[in-house]
């Protein structure tokens, strides 16, 4: 196994997490990861060095954008139940955050997840989305406001424990 393939392999769990949150459906998420890996491996000889992690997130983000574009004219199906109920106990909260994410526009969801879940810097996210840092920050601010409102709006009666 080459160092390149090792680096790609190390990223698979994180890519799956990002894809799961991005696409909601576990099978679609793994499709995205598979396509990302196939592309990355096909391009091994074209990869000229640099940050493999950012590069993989970029491929996945773009593939998801394409997927959503091709789905745009079809009816949207929402799963009745999450395929993967949260194992850590706070199921209701998990479903709420997933539902709140699904109401975000694509690029805001991507920014929110890359920063808050995957821990990427503003600079890295700007490169991944091909936009200035200022755009990343305004997308992030709008995404946070939207998710906050969505969480509060859906469960006004429940107390947030933190």
């Amino acid at each position: 196994m080459t160092a390149f393939r090792d680096s790609v392999e190390t990223m698979i769990p994180a890519l799956r997490r990002y894809a799961r949150a991005l696409a909601r459906d576990a099978d679609i998420a793994d499709d995205l990861v598979q396509d990302t890996l196939v592309r990355a491996l096909r391009s091994e000889r074209l990869f000229l060095g640099g940050d493999i992690r950012s590069w993989l997130y970029t491929i996945l983000t773009n593939l998801n954008k394409n997927r959503r574009r091709s789905l745009a004219r079809r009816p949207q199906f929402m799963p009745l139940l999450d395929n993967n109920p949260d194992a850590s106990g706070t199921e209701a909260e998990g479903r709420d955050i997933a539902r709140a994410l699904s109401t975000l526009v694509e690029e805001q969801r991507s920014v929110l997840l890359l920063v808050m879940l995957e821990g990427l810097s503003y600079r890295e996210v700007a490169d991944i989305q091909g936009v200035p840092i200022g755009t990343v920050m305004s997308r992030l601010a709008r995404a946070r406001a939207h998710v906050k409102a969505s969480l509060e709006g859906e469960r006004p009666a429940l107390r947030r424990v933190k």
Partner: protein, 256 residues
């Protein structure tokens, strides 16, 4: 708690939570939050949001990676059968032709020829099953596609007209070839059967067409000048041969 001199902006609150704030400004923001409960509550809600995201999705990290995502599988599996098929075809060609050394001279080293065809069939198998993004540039941008591929591949790439056999160009993409970039074009029949043409500069002398098949996929391969071609599709040899000759005629006229 004293009010900081410069008011804290919304952007700074986000940067503070995301550890993107310059260290010298952190103290100011913390003082600001102590004096502004509304902002402090918002910052707290963003942290809770991050916790909720991790609580919901971190379990994915601990899941076993599905077999279909294993690197070894993605890298090796499509190649195994192809190596077998191409090696068998080459052996048949070399032995059957009864002129092994001549064949060697004609097509360059067998490994060049073999690698080339393996890469082509690999690409064929990979992309014909792709529903969502079989090509990078679609046929609607044919002129752009051809000039882009020509520029990157370093020869005059042609997209043959195959309408007489019922095939329409879907589009194309750039792929890494054994010795440089390869042009990859996809065609589709009215019933959705897909054919691909893989072409790249390669150290091969002009040769006649040869045929290999395995698991229902067939490939015609030949070299013309310094460019090697592999035309692949899941049809019988006669049909593949008929279409491949159309490709051959049109790429030969192009002189590349």
């Amino acid at each position: 708690m004293t009010e900081p001199q410069i008011p804290v902006t919304e952007d700074e609150l986000h940067a503070y939570v995301d550890n993107e704030l310059p260290a010298e400004r952190r103290g100011d923001v913390e003082a600001w939050l102590a004096a502004h409960p509304d902002d402090a509550a918002r910052v707290q809600s963003w942290r809770a949001m991050a916790d909720a995201l991790h609580a919901r999705y971190d379990s994915v990290l601990d899941e076993a990676v599905p077999k279909r995502l294993e690197i070894e599988r993605l890298v090796r599996q499509p190649r195994k059968w192809i190596y077998g098929a191409v090696a068998a075809a080459l052996a048949a060609f070399i032995v059957g032709g009864g002129a092994g050394w001549v064949a060697r001279g004609v097509i360059g080293s067998p490994s060049t020829f073999q690698n080339f065809t393996v890469d082509a069939l690999d690409a064929h198998r990979l992309y014909v099953v792709e529903l969502r993004h079989p090509v990078e540039v679609e046929a609607s941008e044919r002129d752009h596609l051809i000039s882009w591929l020509s520029k990157r591949c370093g020869y005059d790439v042609k997209a043959p007209e195959l309408e007489v056999t019922g095939l329409k160009l879907v589009g194309g993409r750039l792929l890494p070839g054994p010795e440089g970039p390869a042009a990859f074009l996809m065609y589709e029949s009215p019933t959705g059967q897909r054919f691909t043409l893989y072409a790249s500069r390669a150290d091969m002398k002009t040769t006649h067409m040869h045929y290999a098949s395995s698991n229902g996929d067939g490939a015609m391969f030949w070299a013309n000048g310094s460019v090697g071609y592999v035309f692949s599709g899941a049809v019988d040899k006669e049909r593949l041969n008929q279409i491949a000759h159309l490709v051959y005629d049109q790429t030969e006229i192009a002189g590349g």
